[in-house]
């Protein structure tokens, strides 16, 4: 927004009104004297000039620097060191060299990298498309019992991942779910879904999709409810079918929401860890088939590998820094493509 626009907008609207007298009688005496000065200041406050705005930013900025920017930059610094706190030594780019050239570590890293993309693809293509479908159905004018369906779709989001992950671990296991599945004549489904490297990651991804589909649904519903009724009516009158209405009217209008969801999906799935930890374990079994960047980072940077369990924070930081750079490279173009069309 240009300064000119700001001035115009503020000019159109009346200045915010200050109550002439405070409601409480006790400070009335003082307020009589205060009033003119308040008014005077108010007039100037439209644009007093100088760096006054900085003080409004300061609290948020401090919190952001202290809890976000500093730790993030410090983790970049940490990636150049080996050892833990007391024995930390500067090793330059050795952690990165190890991460990308050591046969074991680099295999794990690229394996986890690939798995994370698959995991992300499931959320992008299945979770978000389902979310959009649900949202369009839920906001349809002829839809009945909207609240009930909305609640049902959202309920899984409120369950702790450790709980839902554990329940699915049992449900997907032949020893626990086998007898009932066979009784239902579904013996083809009695398989060690989480034990087979070919199916494990797909199953873990789908469980996560099931759990979180409510979030994009809610956001798309909110977006679609904001679409003007006039436009939809006009489309109706012009003889648009449902698909045309969706594709040419609703979808373009909620594109900013779609972009936001895409970014959130991207970021949260590249940090995913809990569902793997709950359903298969921090090693990403079987045979590292469900190892994500998150679990890899946990193993190297936080917990260390069983049985010694001494972490290498430097390698962990190198993993997280590399992923940060990759995330940035993914998020910036998406932001540019979908946001900021004021």
């Amino acid at each position: 927004m240009s300064p000119k626009q700001t001035g115009q907008r503020l000019g159109v609207h009346p200045a915010p009104q200050v109550p002439a007298y405070p409601a409480s009688g006790r400070i009335m005496k003082g307020s009589v004297n205060l009033q003119p000065s308040l008014r005077a200041r108010n007039r100037h406050s439209l644009n007093p000039g100088g760096g006054y705005w900085f003080w409004y930013l300061l609290p948020a900025l401090l919190v952001y620097i202290l809890f976000m920017a500093y730790p993030m930059l410090d983790s970049v610094r940490l990636s150049l060191y080996a050892g833990t706190t007391g024995t930390r030594q500067y090793v330059g780019l050795a952690n990165y060299t190890r991460l990308f050239t050591d046969p074991v570590v680099s295999t794990r890293f690229w394996g986890a990298f690939k798995n994370t993309w698959v995991f992300f693809a499931y959320h992008m293509l299945v979770q978000n498309v389902l979310g959009m479908l649900f949202a369009v159905i839920l906001t349809s004018r002829t839809m009945k019992g909207r609240k009930i369906y909305q609640t049902i779709i959202f309920i899984p989001c409120t369950i702790a991942v450790m709980v839902s992950g554990y329940l699915f671990r049992l449900l997907l296991n032949p020893q626990f779910a086998g007898p009932s599945l066979r009784a239902m004549g579904l013996s083809a489904l009695v398989r060690p879904w989480l034990g087979d490297p070919r199916t494990a990651l797909n199953v873990v991804s789908l469980v996560s999709v099931w759990q979180w589909v409510g979030i994009p649904t809610m956001m798309f519903v909110a977006g679609l409810q904001g679409v003007s009724e006039d436009l939809l009516e006009a489309a109706d009158i012009e003889g648009c079918n449902a698909w045309q209405t969706f594709w040419h009217i609703k979808f373009p209008l909620i594109l900013p929401v779609v972009g936001m969801i895409a970014i959130l999906t991207f970021v949260s799935n590249f940090n995913a860890f809990d569902v793997v930890y709950a359903m298969t374990g921090p090693n990403g079994p079987p045979n590292y088939a469900t190892d994500l960047i998150g679990s890899l980072f946990y193993r190297y940077g936080v917990a260390g590998e069983h049985p010694i369990g001494i972490p290498e924070p430097g390698v962990g930081a190198a993993i997280s820094t590399s992923v940060f750079v990759m995330l940035l490279a993914g998020v910036l173009p998406t932001l540019r493509a979908t946001q900021g069309r004021d």
Partner: protein, 413 residues
């Protein structure tokens, strides 16, 4: 009013600055541990010790999976506990080598009350002992007596008989074993390393592998892996997705006839009153000397940077004495066995039965714990692959030998 508050605040700040002022006369120590399950029992032991000496020790356990990392972080930052549970071999030796643990050579009771084998788990390269041996565990086969009786099955005495029993059970539609591979540790630590003393022998033979005189693709290892492959055919349906935590439930409810696991699990079967529990050692193949994996699991160490080295040493000396060991043994959870060379009474009949399996067998630690912990992942991955039918015992033995060579080469440097 304001003045008073300010005064109080100032006094409070002063008090925190000079800890000596607020501290009571008695010395206070802290104890780190991964046995968060045993808080009540250990606190009772520490109360007893306070009665005896006036030294107060606070028990501060961490979750098992995070203990090593947390402890390392605390020690690095100088906030480590005065006393701490110590893992065996590499995990604790690393701490001693970094200078975090008190050397304990001047505690005479250590040499008198513990065998050289028990001390080996806490010995630095120069022979310094840095922890008092505390408890050991063993890896054995739990079996359901009722299922065995119904099917007229005898407890197997050789590995071949074990395979026959498993086949007989499978033929009748009963799952022979409750073991899985999803946890990525028990298939190695409980099953394969439990079997191994039957094939390679005890500590003396292990030393030959550690010196590089024997290779892990020799006859003994190939035989052990071949037998493991044969046994893995009897893992339950969906074993690929069964975790170690699933085993006790499955076995306890009678859904499987046997469960190869550690003695530390024995307490969990109390939850299944209908289970007619029996145990036997993992049998040796025909013609082999029977062995058993009796693994040194925990010790007690002192922090080299403690403020009270005298009191810490005094506690460790008491812990290494017969009286101290008896007190500690009373509080050990079922399935953990004191390592002191003295007749110590243990509670729990089944726990005693498990200990009885040691009789007449060559005992040794988990084979890879001393020098070959670096090949842990190679071993787990290969055992998993054998169980899935993706590799052969011979190929796995080659992978083991390659890893052994790599570790020995790194050590020689």
């Amino acid at each position: 009013m304001k003045k008073l508050t300010a005064l109080l605040l100032a006094a409070l700040m002063l008090a925190t600055l000079v800890p000596g002022l607020v501290q009571a006369e008695g010395v206070k120590l802290t104890m780190g541990s991964w046995r968060s399950d045993d808080t009540a029992q250990v606190q009772a032991l520490l109360d007893k010790y306070k009665e005896l000496t006036g030294v107060e020790i606070t028990f501060q356990p961490t979750v098992p999976a995070q203990y090593n990392a947390t402890l390392r972080l605390q020690l690095d930052n100088g906030t480590g506990p005065d006393l701490m549970y110590s893992r065996t071999f590499a995990a604790s030796k690393e701490l001693y080598d970094a200078g975090f643990l008190l050397p304990l050579n001047d505690i005479a009771a250590l040499k008198d009350n513990f065998s050289a084998a028990s001390l080996e788990a806490f010995m630095a390269d120069d022979g310094t002992i840095y922890a008092v041996p505390y408890a050991a565990v063993s890896q054995i086969v739990y079996y359901n007596k009722a299922i065995f009786a119904e099917n007229n099955l005898e407890v197997p005495t050789t590995f071949e008989e074990l395979l026959n029993v498993a086949q007989a059970l499978k033929d009748k539609g009963i799952e022979p074993l409750a073991n899985g591979i999803a946890s990525n540790w028990d298939i190695l630590e409980c099953v394969f390393l439990g079997m191994l003393p039957n094939y390679v022998g005890g500590a003396e033979e292990r030393a030959l592998y550690e010196a590089g005189e024997r290779k892990m693709n020799d006859e003994a290892f190939v035989k052990a892996l071949t037998d493991f492959a044969a046994l893995s055919k009897y893992l339950p349906e969906g074993f690929e997705a069964l975790a170690n935590e699933d085993g006790p439930g499955m076995f306890g409810m009678g859904r499987a006839a046997m469960f190869i696991d550690g003695s530390w699990t024995v307490g969990m079967f109390d939850e299944y009153p209908d289970l007619d529990l029996g145990v036997f050692a993992i049998p040796a193949p025909e013609g082999h000397t029977p062995g058993l994996c009796f693994h040194s699991d925990m010790g007690m160490a002192g922090n080299a940077a403690t403020q009270h080295p005298e009191e810490v040493k005094a506690f460790l000396a008491w812990f290494a004495s017969v009286e101290g060991a008896q007190e500690a043994a009373n509080l050990l959870p079922a399935g953990f066995y004191p390592m002191i060379n003295a007749p110590v009474e243990l509670s729990g009949e089944m726990a005693m039965t498990i200990l009885g399996l040691n009789e007449g067998k060559v005992l040794d630690y988990r084979f890879i714990w001393k020098d070959f912990l670096g090949m842990y992942t190679v071993m787990v991955d290969n055992l998993n692959a054998i169980a899935r039918g993706e590799t052969t015992p011979e190929a796995a033995a080659e992978a083991f030998a390659a890893a052994q060579e790599e570790i020995l080469a790194a050590k020689a440097e």
